[in-house]
């Protein structure tokens, strides 16, 4: 499988993967998160597992199981870490811990050489560590969290050997090594491979979307932090000047109980506007999302808070002009004025949409630069390379300015 990336990923990434796998081959690498479907984390893990196993690293992916109460609590924790005011009682924290403990009936920890524990849901598993290097992988924007919740959670996090954040601004003083590794997209996945014009056309037709006007698209979960109603407001401003249509497309995630509520709010806000298409796609609708992104004239990710915003990288990989909220990892992907535009308001989105629709040459140029930026920095091979590099560094204790030679 790794050979399929030849000519797509930078050669150096592939060479280093090979060298790192020579060092770490045969070892056991455990990943634990809270959902197999929906959201960027699950998506990238689906792609990463076969590659790591092919490299000779025995990699397995476990999902923490919990009841509705558990996911309500972890959603509150998630929101509080992103700055929302939430009340999490002692009893709730206890339930969080107990559910993790119960998962030990199915999650095997005895043989682990390295464990990557994703996000807050499975964080208490560290209390049951038996062997290996344990790394907490935080995918969310914790730059301005609710202090009490953060403090409670970090009591667990401080027990890990290291933590990984997506953006430097998210890192916290936890007294352990904190690495910065942005997430990535897989260029040969169903979501990102090249599609024929016929397939793109057929996909739009199947959703009843006309192809007679420019398309503005946002792909994301129906989550308030993604500001879907803000996108509709921006679209309504832009449409006064340029005839276009809006598509808001997203899939539900099993660990997000608020999704349906937000979707209903968005539907109500859009009312029966025939130019706004709200698509709730089943999980694993990757090919359809790919087609929508390739059909789009402009891609928007108007997040108010964002772990990283992989949909931006996906659109850039397809050479699309992008507009993103200047939050989380979006500014790492969008170099303002070079690979797209960063915005801070509804009006900013509307203005930049109009600018792209009226300047196709500029849109093409930025799209081209964006694609190269993604190739060099945001493909899955780079992310796997970085994970293995962190693991190898923890094993070998690499420090100093002269570098580790392998």
């Amino acid at each position: 499988m790794i050979r399929e990336y030849t000519g797509i990923s930078p050669k150096g990434d592939l060479v280093l993967l090979q060298r790192l796998s020579d060092k770490l081959g045969g070892k056991v690498f455990l990943h634990v998160n809270s959902t197999k479907a929906g959201g960027g984390v699950a998506e990238i893990l689906h792609r990463m597992m076969p590659i790591l196993n092919e490299l000779g690293i025995q990699t397995r992916w476990e999902v923490i199981e919990g009841d509705g109460q558990f996911f309500d609590i972890t959603k509150k924790i998630h929101n509080a870490l992103q700055g929302n005011r939430e009340i999490i009682t002692k009893k709730m924290w206890q339930h969080h811990f107990e559910v993790n403990k119960k998962n030990l009936e199915t999650i095997q920890l005895d043989d682990v050489d390295a464990a990557l524990i994703h996000d807050p849901q499975p964080v208490p598993l560290i209390d049951f560590k038996k062997s290996g290097r344990w790394i907490w992988r935080c995918h969310i924007d914790v730059s301005n969290p609710m202090k009490e919740v953060c403090d409670h959670l970090f009591r667990y996090c401080g027990k890990y050997d290291a933590a990984i954040f997506s953006v430097a601004r998210f890192a916290k003083a936890m007294g352990i090594d904190e690495f910065i590794i942005p997430p990535s997209i897989d260029p040969i996945s169903e979501k990102n491979i090249e599609l024929s014009d016929t397939e793109i056309h057929n996909t739009l037709e199947s959703f009843g979307i006309p192809i007679d006007r420019p398309i503005v698209l946002q792909v994301s979960r129906f989550d308030r932090f993604k500001d879907p109603t803000g996108v509709i407001k921006a679209f309504r401003i832009a449409r006064k000047y340029n005839d276009c249509i809006l598509i808001l497309a997203g899939s539900p995630a099993t660990d997000d109980p608020e999704g349906e509520l937000v979707l209903n709010e968005v539907r109500e806000y859009a009312s029966d506007d025939p130019d706004i298409h709200i698509l709730l796609l089943p999980a694993f609708s990757d090919r359809q999302i790919n087609a929508l992104q390739r059909a789009a004239t402009v891609v928007v990710q108007k997040s108010l808070k964002e772990g990283f915003g992989l949909t931006v990288a996906e659109a850039m990989w397809k050479g699309k002009p992008v507009i993103g909220g200047a939050v989380g990892g979006i500014p790492l992907q969008i170099v303002h004025g070079v690979t797209g535009f960063l915005v801070h308001s509804v009006e900013g989105v509307a203005f930049r949409v109009r600018q792209f629709l009226n300047n196709p040459e500029m849109a093409r140029r930025m799209g081209e630069k964006g694609k190269d930026h993604i190739r060099q920095n945001f493909l899955i091979t780079r992310q796997i390379r970085d994970y293995l590099s962190v693991w190898y560094t923890l094993e070998s204790g690499g420090k100093g300015t002269s570098g580790l030679r392998i």
């Binding site: 200047a326 100093g400 002269s402």
Partner: protein
Amino acid sequence: MDEMRPFEFMECITILKSTGKRARNIRELRTMIADISDVSLFHHTYQYFLKGHILEYTNDFAHWVGESLEERALSERLSNIDPFAFQDLSSLRQEFLTNIDDYTRHFPEPRDTIPGGEFYFNETVTIIFPIGMWAKNLAEFLLAIRYVDPPCIYYHFYEARLRHGTDDFSAWIESVLGNSELARSIRAIDLFMHNIEGIRTHIVETVENNVRHAMEVIRP
């Protein structure tokens, strides 16, 4: 001449590590530059060239002062600091501090950046590895240099200066191929005036011109 030693292309990658330190204004920047580790100073200065950077700046400090604080005069001064002109990191660190101190004497009221625009001090773990490519002559070198990844050019053209005072390409061309004229032309490329792709373009043009000239010369 160091006969027959092929040029081995290497690459380096960096993994960022947070130090947890940040600055909101020039005074905090000054305090932190005085305090950060050598690894962090190295990352924000020498490794700046590894990024697809803006040519106006030559290090992360100048970049932040110019873009986030919009203190253009200080940014210009910090950008004029050539890290390769210093024998060690402590002299380089002192040069930054001296420039900031001099500026704040004239403009003593620091302005905070907007929330979210703070400077975050990082360190890096650097991993160096061979990419499995060698060049035995100028033709092979020319072919390889067109296609190697940007971090390979960074490693041989920028970071090499810390190891032996000059870039690896011209050193090999001179010592192995015995082509001092071409080596001089490569050394004449201003490393601050181009990003990595610009450096690649200039090296390719310089080598091609040299090869073309050599082919056109009528030998007696």
